[in-house]
Symmetry: C2
Subunit: 524 residues, 2 copies
């Protein structure tokens, strides 16, 4: 039967030979066609057009680069950049067919969102499906992210987006109850409580399959940090096996296909430093639901340089999380915490891994604030269990940590995921460094989370794992003039210079009289 | 002197050899570095990072692709994609230096706009400067366009943006007064009045240096259409010489560097079909001011499928144009016109060029609506001249057209710009075609501009110059069942199929009783 409207009808369906082109184009799939290739001319392709490449029943979309040099690709060849070649997963020299990619079907809905309209559940389902299957160009993706950011999705739309995102990936079912998880909205450097909470809670026997993302705009995420201790990027089957055996894991969520749309969205949100309430809720809850969690403890830190800067703002965000979580069938407990300064001493993957391991080892140098916050969060999570009385959680958590059972559990998880060499007392720091000292004597009355994160990122964190900032004075510390405040580590001269530039603009510390100490907004 | 904060301090400044890589990456500058290249490793570059390439005092920014194949680039080479190589303009084998590009300085202002804040004149100046010098990535560019579209710039901001855009390019000074120009906000297929107004007004002796853009979301722009008759892409010096000799021109504005930022912005607006009031005003007025115009006649068509769909909307837009034009020191006259259907018969570059030339030739087949509208607009422009009495313009314009003086002037302009072979009675149409016929007998009571434009674009216009739609019935035409409404031309089977698909969704015509004819919103 001939349907005259079909795109492939009448168009040439020419076979080409696949060639792996030794060019790394990062996350962007690029296809290379010679300008004299018959299909290029017959189809009226343009450079940068999206094309669909098929072989052995597999298909990928790629942007077209036109080649004028037969040593790169010949007229009968289709070249693919390295990652595109790997994703298609077909050997060099295999036959492939090429056709123009049909435009993503959800583009009219995208245009309505750009125009400021409210979208339906169906619209979000279509858009998210197209995004997850890489049908959106960088431009379309950015337009969606910015339009959703600016237009402020209403809470029903946030639910539609979250639900759509949770549906496109794999969904886990642990066949037991409760399945607990914790999450922090971010913005506080060094805040690696998950790496302490998971072993404590799992040691108590609760199921806590923690998947984390890599840093979006911060100098380290839990996945970036955990990666120094163990493999975090593992096949789905191994992940579930580890969780069933050890009651917990600390893995990278992206590799488990739990929310493939989120991974694509982050590739745009990251360079734009975008993190709106709606997108935050959708990103977090879609992954928790896909990961099969029944209970979630959410940490919202408040502080003058935290993501959330006032109690009313925190309450609004809490209510949005509660609304969407309820619609998605997940029990949520929101904790509002002290976000006035970084947690722990290190900022950057290696330095933060050191802090975490020292707390687990009950080491004398272990940062007390990281220990205390982790115990309180773990305590609240333990209270999700029917057999733990309200108020008993903290004490149970402390016993697990002090007894070394948390460390043992962490070592089990590390071994199961694939142990890497890491000595917390000699962390693998970057070779170059400089020190920042107190310009005057006095009390540390404010530390700027944003500026410290900026300095650590300028120094190369999280990409350079040994780079970052090591704090030697925290809020309330009394310092003399010239006393060391922190040390900055970088791997490359350019990055050291960038970090120094950032420090010259502001060191991120305010030294003043003790009465100028910022008040604690929250008691938890 | 060593300034420790400088980015280039301490970083390796290694010389590489330039190599032209035979890959066409369209508007995107791509640089290729081998993974084993010392500078790649020393600088901690990442794939897709922006790098700065310098040679002989020239510099360009490019995105980095990392190469694993020495036959593409060797360890001592820096490869550039074809357009990037041409822009740098330095021979193969020349020494180049490479360094990480500093992030664009206006990024904090961009982030404030994404967050919905109002920007200052300084902010817009910085952003537009960075855009014009290609310091923005595609993601940043899209974020700016969508944020400005959604947040609805206030009228002061529209002035700031327009002013900033007019300042980054070349600015012409014709050393006489008045310098007249016309512009239509677009949305009406076939509306090629400029190609008639310019020769009429220039034949009268008024200075009318018309620069046009290519189509953004339409099936043809004036530059796309004029390109069939003459070269439109010429050096600045030649353009000014032509204008001084012939009192007018019909050139592509992008090639004259009049608003380089606009050209970059269009590369994002086009794929997103974005055309908000603020961006429209900024795009149009920045180019008119840079082109040295003192007087502008602006055409705002209204119709149910035009860009502007009601009189209040047209009046709001008119006032925004008037406000910004006054702040920029340009006299504006806004004409609100009938936008209920396409103007002329052809939609697509070759078909529209045919219509224009037939009107100039006073040919029997020339479309009357295109003739009448052009005469009215030209008449209003002639009245900008101090010596033309109010109301006399139309008669003068008609005399110039009927006498053949407009045709002679057009031929002079075509010859000066560089004549191409074009026979309006045998236009170079695409080889494939199909016909669309009236499904029932009756009167044509509505024609959908948007749907007809979509069909013409699906058929390949404006890229394929001979593709598009040729209308054989207009509003008010009485048709029998099966009578030909229009013919669609396409160059490639895929595009013919796409156009057919579009027609299957809707032919864009409504046939009904004569009393159902859409009322004319405007008398002009």
């Amino acid at each position: 039967m001939t349907t005259p409207g079909k795109a492939d009808n009448g168009s040439k369906s020419m076979q080409l030979t696949l060639k792996r082109v030794g060019i790394d184009t990062y996350r962007e799939n690029v296809a290379y066609l010679h300008r004299d290739c018959e299909i290029y001319r017959a189809e009226g392709f343009q450079a940068l057009a999206k094309i669909e490449v098929q072989a052995r029943g597999k298909r990928i979309l790629a942007s077209l680069n036109v080649v004028d040099d037969t040593s790169i690709v010949g007229c009968q060849q289709l070249g693919l950049s390295e990652e595109a070649f790997a994703i298609l997963g077909v050997p060099d020299g295999e036959a492939v067919t090429v056709s123009p990619a049909e435009p993503a079907r959800s583009i009219p809905a995208l245009h309505r969102k750009i125009a400021g309209e409210r979208l339906s559940a169906d619209d979000f389902n279509r858009i998210v499906k197209d995004i997850a299957s890489h049908r959106y160009s960088k431009i379309e993706l950015t337009a969606f992210v910015v339009a959703c950011n600016q237009g402020e999705l209403d809470r029903e739309e946030v639910f539609f987006l979250s639900d759509a995102m949770s549906k496109v990936g794999r969904k886990l079912d642990w066949h037991e109850h409760p399945v607990v998880d914790k999450h922090c909205i971010g913005g506080i450097p060094g805040n690696r409580t998950s790496m302490l909470v998971v072993p404590i809670v799992a040691a108590h026997g609760m199921l806590c399959p923690k998947t984390s993302s890599r840093a979006i705009t911060s100098p380290a995420g839990t996945a970036d940090t955990m990666e120094l201790l163990a493999t975090v990027d593992m096949p789905f089957e191994l992940l579930t096996e580890i969780v069933h055996r050890h009651r917990g894991c600390l893995a990278w969520g992206g590799s488990s296909d739990l929310s493939p749309a989120d991974d694509v969205l982050i590739s745009v949100e990251r360079p734009l430093s975008i993190d709106s309430p709606g997108q935050m809720v959708a990103s977090i809850l879609s992954k928790k639901v896909a990961a099969g969690s029944s209970h979630l403890l959410l940490d919202i830190p408040i502080g003058p340089t935290a993501k959330v800067r006032s109690m009313p703002e925190a309450q609004r965000l809490r209510k949005l999380f509660e609304f969407v979580a309820k619609r998605m069938g997940i029990t949520i407990d929101v904790v509002i915490t002290d976000g006035r300064q970084p947690i722990g001493n290190g900022i950057g993957p290696a330095l933060e891994a050191r802090d975490v391991m020292q707390v687990l080892q009950n080491h004398a140098d272990a940062p007390m604030d990281l220990r205390q916050k982790s115990l309180r969060l773990a305590g609240r999570m333990l209270e999700f269990a029917p057999d733990v009385r309200g108020g008993d959680g903290f004490g149970i958590a402390r016993d697990i940590l002090d007894s070394g059972r948390a460390l043992t559990k962490m070592q089990d998880i590390i071994a199961a995921q694939g142990k890497k060499d890491f000595d917390p007392n000699q962390p693998p720091l970057s070779a170059l460094s400089f020190e920042v000292k107190a310009p005057v004597a006095g009390t540390v009355v404010a530390i700027d989370n944003v500026q410290l994160a900026r300095i650590a990122r300028s120094a190369g964190a999280p990409r350079a794992k040994g780079s970052g900032v090591d704090l030697l004075a925290k809020l309330g510390t009394v310092v003399s003039q010239g006393q060391l405040l922190y040390r900055v580590y970088a791997a490359y001269p350019t990055e050291l210079a960038f970090a120094r530039q950032a420090c010259e603009r502001s060191i991120g510390y305010i030294i003043g009289p003790p009465e100028a100490l910022q008040p604690l907004f929250v008691e938890y």
